[in-house]
C-alpha cells in the first residue's frame, strides 16, 4: 500500500511536471507557422513518398530476439533471489532455463542470425572473396552465362 502510494505520488509529480512545462510555454511563446516552416525537414529537398516505408527486416529480428531473451531473463529473476536458500532445487529447476538460453544463443550464432552485415554477398553487388569468376559461378551459374552472352554479343557487333 505504502509502496504503491509513494510510487503514484511520484508518477503524478512527474506527469504534472511534464504537462506543466508543455502548457505554460503555450501562453508566452509566439506561433507563426509558414509554408516552408511547415514542410517536412529533409534538408530543403522536396519530400518524395511517405516516410512510413517498410523497414529492414533485421530490425524486426533483433526485436524478436530481445523478446525471447528478456522474457527468459525476467523468468529467472525470482530463481536468482532464492538461489542461496534452496541451491539444489534451484539448480534442478533453473538449469533447463539457463540451458535453453545458452543453446538458443549458440544456435542463433551458428545460423548467422547475429550478423548485422549478412546480405552483402547475395545482393546485386556480387562480391567474391578472391574476386574470381569461378568462385562467382559456384554461387550463381547464371552470371557466367550472362557474361558469356554479353561477350558474344560484343564480338558479334564488332
Amino acid at each position: 500500500m505504502e509502496q504503491l502510494l509513494s510510487l503514484s505520488i511520484f508518477l503524478a509529480f512527474g506527469l504534472g511536471f511534464v504537462f506543466f512545462s508543455l502548457i505554460v510555454g503555450r501562453l508566452v511563446r509566439p506561433s507563426l507557422p509558414g509554408r516552408e516552416k511547415n514542410s517536412v525537414y529533409e534538408c530543403g529537398e522536396p519530400t518524395i513518398g511517405s516516410s512510413w516505408v517498410q523497414f529492414d527486416l533485421r530490425f524486426y529480428i533483433v526485436a524478436l530476439f530481445y523478446l525471447v531473451f528478456d522474457v527468459e531473463v525476467a523468468l529467472i529473476y525470482p530463481w536468482a533471489v532464492i538461489f542461496r536458500d534452496f541451491p539444489t532445487e534451484a539448480v534442478i529447476l533453473g538449469a533447463p532455463f539457463v540451458g535453453l538460453i545458452i543453446v538458443g544463443f549458440a544456435y542463433e550464432w551458428q545460423t548467422g542470425s547475429l550478423d548485422w552485415v549478412r546480405s552483402a554477398v547475395n545482393t546485386s553487388l556480387r562480391a567474391t572473396r578472391d574476386n574470381s569468376m569461378a568462385h562467382l559461378a559456384r554461387r550463381d551459374p547464371e552470371i557466367l552465362q550472362d557474361q558469356r552472352a554479353r561477350a558474344g554479343a560484343d564480338t558479334g557487333q564488332s
Binding site: Q3, V18, G25, Y66, Y77, F83, V98, F105, A151
Partner: protein
C-alpha cells in the same frame, strides 16, 4: 471529522512522509541539475578541445549590471527560458496525439526510473527505521530495468509520429540499439541479484558496506561485469560513442528532427535523466551505494539525519564522478558504426555475461569466497581474448565490395578466358 483525521494519520505514516520529502527534494534537484549538467557537458567539451567554453552569461539577465561573470553559470537558466519561449510549431503532417505523447513518455519514464535508489540509506525515527528512497518496492532493482524498457516507446513513438524519414530511421536504430543492450544489462543485474541473494536496493548497498574481506564493493569482485554494465548504460542513454540514433552526419537529428522548443527540451531532459539514473544504478550495484570506502565498513547502516545527509553527499559524489566519466568518454571516443554496435552487443557482451552467469551460479552453489568471482571475471576476459577469434565470424564487413563488371572488378576478361 475524527474519522478523517484518523484516516489521514493511518495513511500519512512517517515512512510515506519520508518518501514524499525524498521525491520532492531529489526530483527538483535532478531537474535543476540537468540544466547544469548541460552546461558542464559544454565545459567538458571545451576543455577536451582546448577551448574556454561558455563563460559570459552571469546572473544579471540584463536587469542589473554585474561585474563578475560567475563562470558563465547563468547560461543554464537562460537556456531554459529560451526553450520555454521559443516557437513550438507542430508540422502539419505529424500524428498529433502521438507527437505530443512521445516526449511525455521519454521524460516521464526517465523521471520515475530512479525511484528505488536509496540515496540516504536507512534512518532511525523513533522506534521505526525509514528507508530514504522515493519508493521502497520489493522488486527493487528490477524496477528501473522495467521502466528503462518503457523508455524505448518515447523514441519509437516520436520517430513514427514525426512522418519524417530521418526521424523514422533514427527511431529504428535507437530501438534496435536499446533493445540489444537491454539484454546484457538485465543479465548483469541478474548476476548481482544472484550473488547478493536479494533484489532490494537498500539490502544490496548494506551488503557491500558491511566491511571485512568478504563484503566489499562489487566492482572489486566483478570488474568485467562492471565494465559491461557501464557500456550498456552508455548505450541505453544513446550517449556517444553509441549515439547512432542521432548521428548528425547521417540523420540530421535522428528521432527528434521535427521537434522544437519545449518538446525537444523534454527529450533532452530525458536523456540527461537517464544518465543520472544509469550512474546511480552503477553506483548502487558496483560502487557500494552510499558506502565511503571499501573494506572499512565506515558508515553504520542505520543512523540519524546527519548520517543520512552524509550518505546522500557520498552517493551524489559518486554519481557526479560517473557523469563526468560519461562526458569524458563522449568527447574522447569516435562514434561506432551500426554493425560494430550490434556485434559488440550480440557477439561479446551477451556471451560474456551468459558465461559469467554460469560461473557465478557455480560459485554461489559451492558457497565459495566472493574472491572467486574476481577469478571468474579474469578467466572470462582472458578466455574471450583467446576463444573469440575461433568462433564463427560472419561475413567480413570492412573489405571492398566490388561491383561485378565494374572497372575495379573486370569480370569480362575472366569470363572470356573461362
Amino acid at each position: 471529522m475524527q474519522d478523517i483525521i484518523s484516516c489521514l494519520q493511518s495513511i500519512a505514516t512517517p515512512q510515506l512522509i519520508a518518501h514524499v520529502i525524498v521525491i520532492m527534494v531529489i526530483a527538483n534537484l535532478m531537474l535543476g541539475g540537468c540544466a547544469y549538467l548541460i552546461l558542464l557537458e559544454r565545459k567538458v567539451a571545451a576543455w577536451t578541445q582546448d577551448r574556454i567554453g561558455p563563460n559570459r552569461v552571469n546572473f544579471s539577465f540584463g536587469l542589473v549590471s554585474l561585474k563578475s561573470k560567475h563562470f558563465g553559470l547563468g547560461q543554464a537558466l537562460v537556456d531554459g527560458v529560451k526553450l520555454l519561449v521559443k516557437e513550438d510549431y507542430d508540422p502539419p503532417q505529424v500524428d498529433k496525439i502521438l507527437f505530443y505523447l512521445a516526449p511525455v513518455f521519454a521524460v516521464g519514464t526517465a523521471l520515475v526510473g530512479w525511484a528505488i535508489i536509496p540515496w540516504g540509506g536507512l534512518m532511525q525515527w523513533g522506534d521505526q527505521t525509514l528507508v530514504i528512497a522515493a519508493a521502497d518496492i520489493n522488486i527493487g532493482i528490477i524496477y528501473p530495468l522495467a521502466i528503462g524498457s518503457l523508455a524505448v516507446y518515447g523514441v519509437v513513438v516520436g520517430g513514427y509520429a514525426s512522418t519524417n524519414k530521418y526521424s523514422f530511421l533514427g527511431a529504428l536504430r535507437a530501438t534496435a540499439q536499446m533493445l540489444s543492450y537491454e539484454i546484457p544489462m538485465s543479465l548483469c543485474v541478474l548476476i548481482i541479484i544472484l550473488m547478493s541473494g536479494t533484489p532490494r536496493a537498500e539490502d544490496i548497498a548494506v551488503l557491500q558496506a558491511a566491511g571485512g574481506l568478504h563484503h566489499s564493493w562489487n566492482i572489486l569482485f566483478q570488474p568485467l561485469l562492471a565494465v559491461i554494465f557501464f557500456t550498456c548504460v552508455l548505450a541505453e542513454c544513446n550517449r556517444a560513442p553509441f549515439d547512432l540514433a542521432e548521428s548528425e552526419q547521417e540523420l540530421v537529428g535522428g528521432y527528434h528532427t521535427e521537434y522544437s522548443s519545449m518538446k525537444w527540451a523534454l527529450f533532452f531532459l530525458g536523456e540527461y535523466m537517464h544518465m543520472i539514473t544509469g550512474s546511480a544504478m552503477f553506483a548502487l550495484l558496483f560502487l557500494g551505494g552510499w558506502d565511503l570506502l571499501p573494506f572499512l565498513g565506515a558508515l553504520p547502516a542505520v543512523g540519524g539525519i546527519g548520517l543520512v545527509l552524509l550518505k546522500f553527499a557520498i552517493f551524489a559524489g559518486k554519481v557526479f564522478f560517473l557523469l563526468f566519466v560519461m562526458m569524458w568518454i563522449r568527447w574522447s571516443l569516435p562514434r561506432f558504426r551500426f554493425d560494430q554496435l550490434m556485434r559488440l552487443a550480440w557477439r561479446s557482451l551477451i556471451p560474456m555475461t551468459l558465461i559469467l552467469l554460469l560461473a557465478s551460479g557455480v560459485i554461489v552453489y559451492l558457497r565459495l569466497s566472493p574472491w572467486y568471482f574476481l577469478l571468474a571475471n579474469i578467466a572470462v576476459f582472458v578466455g574471450g581474448l583467446f576463444v573469440g577469434p575461433l568462433l564463427p565470424q560472419g561475413p567480413p564487413v570492412n573489405r571492398r565490395v566490388p561491383l561485378a563488371g565494374s572497372r575495379f572488378s573486370p569480370l569480362v576478361e575472366v569470363a572470356a578466358k573461362g
